[in-house]
């Protein structure tokens, strides 16, 4: 129940051993991270205002700095520079126990020698809460998570899903100002993961607090977040609502990272004709939708070679347009994924499954798309030209 504000946060891991740094720094892969004289820069220029009771999801591939950011909010990692405020209070140097936050870990980190009840009661016990208060709060949280029956069991006697609930229970039992979750569902199998995702949505309605959630799974990000923060190589790529990220990805990386199957990219030309923007691609020419016209005009975008992005579900089979040849056809149930070769490049489209045998393989098709679904990115900066 509070606002969290991050201002220009930066995290640098000092390089301790010169000859080993290439591979591993504190278990984080360094990949494309910037390495300066001070060390490996895991996060930089991170600024974000999180509103009270907001659900924020940090998403990105592994090594993008999302967990490091979360751990800095928790106080588990030192903040190299920048400022962190919780409810207006400067928090950089405050120990985790004094930040009044709770955290759910990927591997749950339940205390193996304590029962579920003791696990959940531990933080209250440390705060010297009365026995009645502890009991009331533990049972209340157990009720919410439907784990009342397991209170006397040890963690190792529980299934993965149950452990997950206990880990969440331990976090919510003391009504923290902010609930931090670090990939909480990634140790579960696909079915349980879907189930728990729904549970978290329900949980959010019952406990009114600020959530900061880290995941590499874009589905979790899209379904859970009020706003999502897409990160890569230590930098924020985009902060926006899930809808906004999906409809107006800020750059090529976000466009490719969000959405499955991945957005298709084509080499194209952005042209101005009679004051309107058109994209010419593979012999087809499409006028961009009015909304996009305005945004491009506002930015004074000039004619140029661009990368055109169109999502698979927005590419339609047509009489004429971009020519391609079907190489693979996957029936997904209600829809069908067609893999095509267009000018030597792989393209995926989604078409309704019509029920017929649908022997598409080898057939020559033409593709078209609507001007409202075309995303144009600068070749030079990879930025969305709308921004």
């Amino acid at each position: 129940m509070s606002e969290v504000k991050l201002v220009n946060i930066k995290k640098v891991y000092p390089v301790i051993e010169r000859n080993k740094n290439k591979k591993n720094v504190n278990g984080h892969r360094t990949g494309n991270l910037q390495i300066t004289d001070e060390g490996v820069v895991a996060v930089q220029e991170f600024s974000l205002d999180i509103a009270d009771k907001e659900f924020i999801v940090l998403v990105g591939p592994s090594g993008c700095g999302k967990s490091t950011t979360l751990r800095m909010v928790a106080g588990l990692e030192e903040i190299t520079s920048g400022e962190l405020y919780i409810d207006g209070e400067y928090m950089n140097d405050v120990a985790p126990k004094d930040r009044d936050i709770a955290m759910v870990f990927q591997n749950y980190a339940l205390y193996p020698h304590m029962t579920v009840y003791q696990n959940m009661a531990y933080s209250l016990k440390i705060q010297k809460a009365s026995r009645e208060e502890i009991d009331r709060k533990v049972r209340e949280a157990a009720e919410i998570l439907d784990i009342t029956d397991y209170l006397d069991r040890k963690p190792k006697e529980l299934s993965g899903g149950q452990r997950q609930r206990v880990a969440i229970g331990r976090a919510i039992v003391r009504h923290p100002k902010a609930l931090l979750m670090d990939e909480p569902l990634s140790n579960l199998d696909a079915k349980l993961r879907n189930q728990m995702r729904a549970e978290i949505i329900k949980l959010r309605e019952r406990i009114n607090t600020t959530f900061i959630y880290v995941t590499h799974d874009q589905t979790e990000a899209m379904t859970l977040g009020d706003r999502i923060v897409v990160m890569k190589d230590g930098y924020i790529q985009q902060i926006a609502t899930p809808q906004e990220v999906f409809d107006h990805p800020s750059n090529l990386f976000v466009a490719g990272f969000i959405g499955t199957p991945q957005m298709n990219f084509f080499d194209a030309e952005l042209k101005l004709r009679d004051g309107d923007y058109w994209v010419d691609v593979e012999g087809a020419s499409v006028r961009l939708a009015d909304e996009k016209q305005e945004r491009l005009k506002a930015n004074h975008v000039e004619e140029q070679a661009v990368t055109l992005g169109v999502r698979p579900e927005h590419l339609l089979l047509a009489d004429k347009g971009i020519a391609g040849k079907v190489t693979v056809s996957e029936l997904m149930g209600s829809s069908r994924h067609l893999h095509l070769t267009v000018h030597g490049k792989d393209v995926i489209i989604i078409v309704p499954s019509t029920g017929g045998s649908g022997n598409y393989i080898g057939s020559e098709v033409a593709l078209s798309f609507d001007g409202s679904n075309a995303h144009v990115f600068s070749k030079a900066t990879e930025k969305n030209l709308e921004y």
């Binding site: 301790i16 051993e17 504190n26 751990r71 928790a74 106080g75 588990l76 120990a95 985790p96 126990k97 936050i101 709770a102 955290m103 870990f105 990927q106 591997n107 980190a109 339940l110 205390y111 193996p112 020698h113 531990y122 933080s123 440390i126 705060q127 331990r170």
Partner: protein
Amino acid sequence: MTIANSSRSRKAKAQLFILRVLAYLFIGILVAMCLFFFVMLLLMSSKSNSQLQGAFSLKWGGHFLENLHNAWNDASTNIPRGMVNSFIVAMSSALITTYFSALTAYGIHVYEFRFKRAIFTFIMAIMMIPAQVSAVGFIQLAYKFGLTNKLWLLILPGMAAPVVFFYMKQYLESVLPLEMVEAARIDGSSEFRIFNEVVLPIMKPAVAVQMIFSFVSSWNNYFMPSLLLTKPEKRTVPIMIAMLRSADYSKFDMGKVFMFILLAILPVMLVYAVLSKSIIKGVTSGSVKG
């Protein structure tokens, strides 16, 4: 084809049978050797001195309780006093050794700090230096400061036990995810409390095994105590046993001698009888991993 096969398989079966018999025989002989001395000790401690002076016999002597009574009440050796002293030293050093080794291992395992690697390397390096190398200076200091005959002087050095440290470090690496510590931090626990309430309980198996090993090695330790403990009422069991060796055997009750030996090894043997499984497990898990 089938006939050839079956004769071959019969031959193989016979071969395996012979191998098995030989293997069991081999194991049997070694087991018998280990038991022989223990059985002899029990047998001899049941005999009166006159029985022992007389002809050799494998019969139970029937004077076991009498020997026990005599040995227990022998004023010149005072074995009860020795056992109490030994117990105080062994138990305290077992507790101190395991607790501080675990604490040190935890400190180095969990925290990132500047000299982490150097300190770890240093402890590994001093691991193999024999205790006797420091004995000269230790004894000299003990005499200089009048600390001979102080049992705590045998206990406190146990705080720095590199071998136990190494075992604990390896154990921590296999059982303690850092997230567990972080979870406890977020739960509001202080660093010291995290170690005592979260980490130590998780380390219970390792602590138990190392407590047994340190207890046993301290109980059996002879070299340093024999140089430091000069007063009769401070002697530990191994010193008393070694002193029996210089007694005059023409006048000595041998039944009592065997009983002393039995009493000296009995506590450890009793612990072993109960916990042999986990002790044997502990032999390997610390020293070398596969």
